[in-house]
């Protein structure tokens, strides 16, 4: 593996390899006094975030540091980007500065692919940490790790992705990965928040959340991305919440074993009721915890082994 740009690039074997590595890392680090492995000593990982983020950036930084890599954070507001430097020039600067891996988040879809194209020659790995409304593969991996922890093998598991599919890179990456892993995925969203061309995702799209609740192993809620919305996608937050919010009444209709996920940051009272968010059947803090191990596993698979001969 050279880059991690799209969840769709992962074969089932590659995805399961990363998830198994993540499980082992989690068990290895459990209860240890020294949470540090020497595996990536001397490798330099640069995170380059053109969009705000708490959990993803911190999670990558912790993951890199626990593997003993040197992690350097670049944010667009505090770098030459704010002076008008292009993405390509920034990339070449990072390469010249000695990066082994660049982790990038960018508001433009496809930015990570462009970056990988420029950096491949220098032998630098690129990880897509979210590009616009396109993809966020490590989020899909940590969601899968969390689901596997609660539900076991995901083959045939019925998983609904609910909410703002249109603006969500998490949804796309999750659909790609969960399908590769053999899960039975469906999308549930208001018609205005379903992207054009969704039929190519090859998963059913529904509009009535209540009709599906009793038949699910997991519900994955998405944040309503107001910052990407210019115009009326739904009449009001209250109306959205009434139709698609996971309130306590809906929560009670889910099967006993069903898991609730949310990639965060969550809007309590909008997509999810506060009591549901804090229920032990909701795995939101597990997702963050697993995020570190999954990202350690991704860095391990990208950086630890011998470089693949192209």
């Amino acid at each position: 593996m050279k880059h991690l740009l799209s969840a769709g690039d992962l074969t089932a074997d590659a995805a399961l390899g990363i998830l198994d590595t993540s499980d082992e890392l989690k068990r290895t680090l459990l209860g240890r006094e020294v949470k540090k492995l020497p595996t990536l000593r001397g490798r330099t990982v640069i995170t380059c975030f053109y969009e705000n983020s708490t959990r993803t950036r911190v999670s990558f930084e912790v993951a890199g540091k626990w593997m003993s890599a040197d992690v350097i954070n670049v944010s667009s507001s505090a770098s030459s980007v704010s002076k008008g430097e292009s993405l390509r020039d920034t990339a070449l600067t990072l390469a010249a500065a000695g990066a082994d891996c660049v982790i990038v988040r960018h508001p433009a879809s496809g930015a990570a692919h462009r970056l990988a194209h420029w950096l491949s020659e220098a032998g630098i790995s690129v990880v897509n940490a979210g590009d616009g409304m396109h993809e966020h593969p490590t989020q899909a991996l940590l969601d899968a790790a969390t689901l596997r922890e609660r539900l076991g093998d995901l083959t045939g598991k019925r998983i609904a992705i609910v909410g703002d599919i249109l603006h969500s890179r998490v949804a796309r990456s999750n659909v790609l990965l969960l399908r590769t892993l053999g899960a039975d995925v469906r999308l549930i969203a208001p018609p205005t928040l379903v992207p054009a061309g969704v039929e190519e995702w090859k998963v059913p799209v529904h509009h009535d959340l209540d009709a599906h609740l009793s038949d699910l192993d997991a519900v994955m809620l998405l944040r309503v991305q107001a910052e990407r919305m210019h115009g009326g996608f739904f009449p009001s937050a209250r109306e959205y919440s009434i139709s698609y919010g996971l309130n306590e009444k809906r929560f009670a209709k889910l099967p006993e074993h069903a898991v609730v996920l949310h990639p965060g940051p969550m809007l309590r009272g909008m997509e999810i009721a506060s009591a549901v968010a804090d229920s032990p059947r909701t795995a939101i803090t597990d997702q963050v915890r697993n995020g570190v191990h999954v990202r350690m596993a991704v860095l391990y698979h990208l950086l630890a082994g011998e470089e693949e001969k192209v």
């Binding site: 198994d20 590595t21 068990r27 290895t28 240890r32 020294v34 492995l37 595996t39 630890a304 082994g305």
Partner: protein, 196 residues
């Protein structure tokens, strides 16, 4: 292919069985006796907790068998754990990526224990160096010893085993395969010539 002269009990032209299943059982039993003898404490001395840590893959079943024999001979219950050293290897960058094995310490941990690392073959010593590094991150044993089923020589580091099942002089290009019924369906130690 040119036929080669067979040496010892040849099962194939390029393969020689060094230990049969019965030999493997006897060797492990002898090693268990040696562990009991060497870790015994003088009357009045504080007892030490002996803990076996098997190094995956074949060190793990070996450690379990050793613990069973020690229990059988002395009645002492010896905790067994596993210690994966993949993340501590010094040759990670020279090989394709490898999957991780599990590291599981016994419930009591290894703090102040006498840890005996168990592996199938001692060769360059690099695995053991990695294991010592891994141990340092997991706790502070009172002492660390090493038990191996086969010592084939060619050390690249100043490392020596405390318990050796069988010393086998080998050429560098030869290959020693330890087979254990838990993984391979039979017990045997086989020497293979290069290219076999």
């Amino acid at each position: 292919m040119t036929p080669r002269e067979s040496v010892g009990a040849a099962d194939a032209a390029d393969e020689r069985t060094l230990l049969s299943a019965a030999d493997v059982a006897r060797t492990i039993a002898r090693m268990a006796h040696q562990v009991i003898e060497k870790t015994a404490v003088e009357p009045g001395e504080a007892p030490v907790q002996v803990t076996l840590l098997g190094i995956p893959t074949r060190g793990v079943p070996l450690a379990r068998r050793l613990a069973d024999k020690i229990r059988e001979f002395s009645g002492a219950e010896v905790p067994v754990g596993t210690l994966d050293i993949t993340l501590y290897r010094d040759d990670l960058r020279r090989r394709p990526n490898r999957p991780l094995e599990s590291t599981e310490l016994p419930p009591g941990g290894i703090e102040n224990c006498l840890v005996i690392l168990v592996d199938d073959v001692l060769f360059s010593g690099r695995t053991i160096r990695a294991a010592l590094d891994a141990l340092r991150d997991l706790g502070r044993p009172s002492a660390v010893q090493l038990a191996v089923l086969v010592d084939r020589g060619h050390r690249q580091l100043p490392i020596r085993a405390d318990y050796v099942g069988k010393n086998v002089p080998t050429a560098r290009q030869e290959d020693i395969a330890v087979e254990l019924s838990e993984r391979d369906g039979r017990d045997a130690v086989v020497l293979r010539r290069a290219g076999a």
